[in-house]
Symmetry: C2
Subunit: 140 residues, 2 copies
């Protein structure tokens, strides 16, 4: 699914953008920290301040009602547009609250992001994107 170029490009990015949509098809998009393992992308809810309880997060409510998601990681270079590029993955998202995959995903995320190591992540859900399609453009 992901080829080596896609995988390397994604792993080199520190932030991606997660698009979900509600039951009426109205999109929502936020920047996220992420990790890739085989053909899954993992995102964890973390301790960053939220407006309300994590379960109320719009991205989770959307996924519960409509699991189709898209995530794009890109490189932008204001000085050289020949270097622009992006990789988008599309698929179905699952919310994982606990268990071996939840633990492995959060360990992988902690290995990528030092800031997450200080957080009590285990109580937070993980979003797992099961990749169904990969698109890319530009310098990837």
């Amino acid at each position: 699914m992901l080829n080596d170029d896609h995988r390397r490009f994604l792993e080199d990015r520190r932030v991606a953008h997660l698009a979900t949509a509600d039951a009426t098809g109205a999109p929502h998009v936020v920047p996220v920290c992420f990790a890739v393992r085989e053909n899954d992308v993992y995102i964890t809810i973390d301790d960053k301040p939220k407006r309300g309880p994590a379960t109320a997060l719009k991205r989770l409510r959307n996924i519960a009602r409509n699991p189709a998601v898209a995530l794009v990681a890109d490189h932008y270079d204001d000085a050289d547009w020949t270097r622009l590029g992006w990789v988008m993955v599309r698929g179905k998202a699952e919310i994982i609250d606990e268990g071996p995959e939840h633990r492995r995903a959060q360990e992988l995320l902690k290995s990528r992001y030092a800031q997450l190591r200080a957080m009590d992540l285990a109580r937070h859900p993980v979003i797992a994107i099961r990749i169904e399609r990969v698109s890319s453009w530009g310098a990837v």
Copy 2:
């Protein structure tokens, strides 16, 4: 709608991420150059290489079938997560092919992006997002 902080934050960003969804509610998300004028956000199709004709672009096909869109601009700082922030706008998108608003939008985009000034933009459509809701998080 957009307050002064939102507007300043958006204008300081060089790239945003546009989420659309198809008629089944499956999202799509790509990085875009953009400009803000009052409570509209403008994005133009440009001469950057595309896989096919601009009219076939997935973002345009989605908007034709489902005008609900979301666009987020964010600041990511790997070293200091207290500086993270984003502004998301949601609303309905219109595709504008010609006329005074099309011309003004492309002039505004050219004033922000030197690379666009060398392109023959007039033959390309503009996406106009009519902002209905603004959300923000973090250092905005």
